[in-house]
Point group: C2
């Protein structure tokens, strides 16, 4: 299955000036697509932070999705940070420069042209006949931070990241989590292809513990569920 | 000012089974407290990931807040991961063991006692006369993942992380971001104590760009705001 990491580049998220709409949306879309998200990092707009996080994630995952920092202002450092991550220079890409000039006309000043200054060797993805392509440096897909734009641009290229979606079973119990812990440990050991999670919902009355079984091997899922639903454990299917 | 990082330990967040309520809440509370949040990492429940992220954040920030992975089941690896981060063993803390035995009675099995097995040398914080203390290993405060419990426990100890809250000014314009970029760059260079951010709101009609000025030096804030509000730039106070 394809794996992915997300890098949210934004002081405005860390400082709480704006809510992070992008992470919850990407989490949901990647789940639907069957692409395994293995890390999200929210980092400040600095060259060193961007370079370090992107370099580390790029090495570990099939895909890295960055959001934010691609506009024309002084705090837009994503392209420069990614260039630094891979030790390549920035260059004004002629195709992007031409699009910006055509679109902005007289307003296409030096600041605007910073948006066309991308890491050397980047690919441009034109999927879906877009007017402005997605910039992709190695396995790093560089998305805007504006939520509506991110969604639009991500959905054009989403087919490239698709795997097999996970299947999930949900069980629950009104017992304490510790009462089912041993049985869960045993199930986790017997069916390593099934990811078993246990989540107390203390806010609910009566309190309950939700147990999730997740995986892509349907027979292992069914067998582990049957093992946990069996008799003395006290787990039942969650509605 | 105190600095902080957050480590959200949870496959269930990455896989989208549960929404992450803890990050938005911590972001807001840290802002109110005047504690500068510099990084959020959402990572899987594995020893290696927990150890690596906690070790890195602990070295860089005054405080690290982890959430999740402190229950009695097989997927609760936070204490073990933090012990590994600092190269110390786990041990059953006698005070925690006693509380669990008193609270759970006969239900206090071996699984439940895993919750009392914490990194050697950890401190217990009893702020606010709580029944169950917060476990703190060096500068790492170990919170539960259940949102209602996290909030309750964080607020008991929040006074320890307090600094001076940031002041913020919001300006806006209906021009393109590139039209104000040069002026923002100049302001950022002239008032380094002021963090200047620029955020296009393309979903709004008419489109506008919000510019935020943030800092703790009131005279620098006032001066940079005056510089940007002056005349030809086209920025005005945001409502």
């Amino acid at each position: 299955m394809p794996t992915a990491g997300v890098v949210i580049i934004g002081n405005e998220i860390l400082s709480g000036k704006f809510a992070d709409e992008n992470t919850p949306w990407l989490v949901r879309r990647l789940r639907e697509l069957g692409c395994d998200l293995l890390r999200v990092a929210v980092i400040p707009d600095t060259l060193a932070e961007i370079a370090a996080e992107v370099a580390a994630q790029s090495e570990r995952f099939d895909w890295v999705f960055t959001t934010g920092g691609v506009g024309p202002t002084h705090d837009d450092l994503t392209f420069a940070g990614i260039a630094q991550a891979f030790g390549v220079p920035l260059h004004h890409h002629p195709d992007l420069t031409a699009i910006l000039r055509a679109k902005l006309g007289e307003a296409c000043n030096e600041a605007a042209l910073r948006m066309a200054e991308i890491p050397e060797g980047s690919a441009l993805w034109w999927d879906g006949g877009v007017v402005y392509p997605l910039v992709v440096t190695r396995n790093v897909c560089i998305f805007p931070g504006v939520p509506s734009l991110l969604k639009l641009k991500f959905d054009k290229v989403a087919h490239r990241f698709a795997g097999t979606p996970l299947s999930v079973r949900r069980l629950h119990t009104h017992q304490q989590e510790s009462a089912i812990a041993d049985r869960l440990t045993e199930a986790a050991a017997r069916w390593p292809a099934v990811a078993i999670g246990s989540y107390p919902r203390l806010d609910e009355v009566p309190m309950r513990v939700i147990v999730t079984l997740e995986g892509r091997d349907e027979s292992a899922l069914a067998a582990s569920a049957a093992f946990l639903l069996d008799g003395a454990v006290g787990l039942t299917e969650a509605p």
